[in-house]
């Protein structure tokens, strides 16, 4: 402990300036708390700096580039299209800067005091802040903890940002690589694999599990694999990665696939094997009486309170999917409770989107889960993109919308979409489930023509046995 550290007082201290932390700070301030926010690196956290935003900027541009070929065949002719990787990278960086500077302005307008440095608890209501040149202490009345997560490391693969890369290296990419090995077929691996493949890199994805993006519906996994294969992405599932070596300019990754051992050679290897909550010993959670669960997440109640009644925890460090919109939602619950309101974390649905080729979006229960929870009381209906007018106009025939509902009350339980613009479609499904809508509500709501959203009522009509734009023989009532 440093002698003579200066101790300040904070009404509400927020630790971490990612989506969770900054939005909690703004909301708490709006509701009358005086807020101090500590951030050790960059305001905006993973999401704005090295996550959601730059990844979607890269994905968007790669997608536009990739479709130029098919556009040429449709009459919008481009013959010598190419990527300028330097400019591309600047564009991605530009999106990040625009958003992070925006968030700084929002915090300023909300009169949130920003302290630079790394916080660690030294007691139940006190933290020490280590900045580059000094340390200080802050005593808080209440605290919202939002320290987020970091990439999981993989034994034998030390990220050197040259041959062994992390997700950030794949985002701000000033060169188009000849080829790339990605270890990890989770959503980040599949998103960035799709993006680099579209830019012209030969991508190989290695996944230990029997399938990529575990957890999504099997049909969606199949569609993803088919499309990725057609794009030239090699997906290897059920393989174990043992280690790597560099040979000249190349990396060689050693894998086993059952009994067989194999070497995969490439220009670089990216390690995208998940993320770990930032809860290491340095944070001093024990000093504050904050309990970590067996899932290595902070234990919280339905108002985001930890075992220390004056400390809330939100975002990637608490249970549930590590997604920015979950952090935003929890942030507001915590901030409102800290401001004395009766908020609660009781969302029925946390949607998930995969911005891959094609997009995937999910809300609510999967088919298997629904069937085991409600035996013999589940209705499933699908409608394919190829039968939707707008999809045909877009030349986007791959994909489908799948609805899962209770057979008796007809209430919607889950929606699963794979196909173009799934990300834009899914929020209607989230709202529908939150509001307790039925299949019939969807069918009777007028959706504008010609839009992709018409697939909702069309799928609902399939569930009713009255499909309009698709032939489902066995379902005719005649």
């Amino acid at each position: 402990m440093v002698v003579g550290e200066f101790t300040e007082q904070a009404d509400l201290l927020v630790i971490g300036g990612g989506p969770g932390g900054y939005s909690a700070a703004i909301r708490a301030s709006q509701l009358g708390r005086s807020v101090t926010l500590v951030e050790r690196e960059n305001i905006g956290g993973v999401c704005l700096n090295v996550g959601c935003i730059p990844s979607k900027a890269l994905i968007e541009l790669s997608s536009r580039f990739h479709e130029l070929d098919s556009l040429s065949k449709k009459g919008v002719v481009t013959e010598d299209a190419h990527i300028d990787p330097i400019v591309l990278s600047q564009t991605v960086t530009g999106s990040v800067e625009r958003l992070t500077s925006g968030v700084r302005q929002l915090l300023k307008a909300a009169e949130v005091e920003i302290v630079e440095g790394e916080a660690s608890f030294v007691g139940p209501n006190e933290v020490r802040i280590r900045a580059s040149h000094e340390t200080s202490r802050i005593k808080f009345k209440d605290c919202i903890l939002a320290t987020g997560s970091s990439p999981r490391e993989l034994d034998g693969f030390t990220v050197d940002h040259q041959r062994v890369l992390d997700s950030t290296d794949l985002l701000f990419t000033p060169v188009i690589r000849r080829d790339l090995i990605i270890i990890g077929g989770g959503y980040i691996g599949v998103e960035l694999g799709s993006a680099h493949a579209r830019l012209g890199t030969k991508v190989t994805i290695l996944e230990m599990a029997p399938e990529i993006v575990m957890g999504v519906e099997p049909e969606i996994q199949r569609t993803l694999r088919t499309v990725l294969r057609e794009m030239g992405v090699e997906v290897r599932t059920g393989v174990e990665v043992h280690g790597m070596k560099t040979v000249g300019d190349s990396v060689v990754v050693e894998i086993t696939n059952g009994e067989l051992t194999e070497e995969i050679r490439g220009n670089a290897v990216a390690v995208l094997v998940g993320r770990v909550p930032n809860l290491d010993d340095d944070l001093g959670l024990a000093m504050a009486g904050i309990t970590i669960g067996s899932d290595y997440r902070v234990e919280v109640d339905d108002q985001m309170r930890t075992s220390n009644a004056h400390v809330f925890a939100i975002g990637d460090i608490v249970p549930g999917p590590m997604l920015a919109h979950k952090a935003y939602y929890e942030a507001k619950v915590a901030a409102e409770v800290a401001a004395g309101q009766q908020a609660g974390n009781d969302a029925t649905v946390i949607p998930a989107v995969i911005f891959a080729e094609p997009e995937v979006a999910v809300a609510g229960l999967g088919e298997q889960e629904a069937r085991s929870r409600y035996p013999d009381n589940v209705l499933v209906a699908k409608f394919p993109y190829r039968a939707n007018g707008r999809a045909i106009v877009l030349g986007a025939s791959v994909g489908e919308v799948k609805l899962i509902a209770l057979a008796d009350s007809r209430r919607l339980l889950g929606v699963h979409i794979v196909g173009i613009d799934a990300s834009n479609l899914i929020s209607e499904a989230v709202l529908a489930i939150e509001l307790g809508a039925t299949i019939d509500d969807l069918a009777l709501t007028i959706h504008p023509h010609p839009t992709l959203s018409e697939m909702y009522p069309e799928a609902a009509e399939v569930a009713q046995g009255l499909p309009t734009h698709i032939i489902v023989q066995q379902q005719r009532n005649k």
Binding site: D302, G320, Q342, D346, A347, V349, A363, R373, E434, G436
Partner: protein, 63 residues
């Protein structure tokens, strides 16, 4: 478990908390037994129906 938590929209769930009610103990008069804002206000002002046993269980499962 096939038991369900009370059917209600996000805003109604929030209102229940604000009124200090456990929504799972409030009888819903909406379609399918859905709990409406009016149901909560009625109970809160002492006039409405509370169900004796929770029809519901856990709040924890995300969708």
């Amino acid at each position: 478990s096939s038991r369900e938590r009370a059917l209600a929209t996000p805003a109604v769930r929030r209102l229940a908390r604000e009124l200090g009610l456990d929504i799972n103990f409030v009888e819903g008069t909406g379609p399918d037994g859905r709990v409406l804002a009016e149901d909560l206000r009625r109970v809160a002002s002492g006039g409405g129906q509370r169900v004796s046993a929770p029809t519901q269980d856990d709040f924890s499962e995300p969708g």
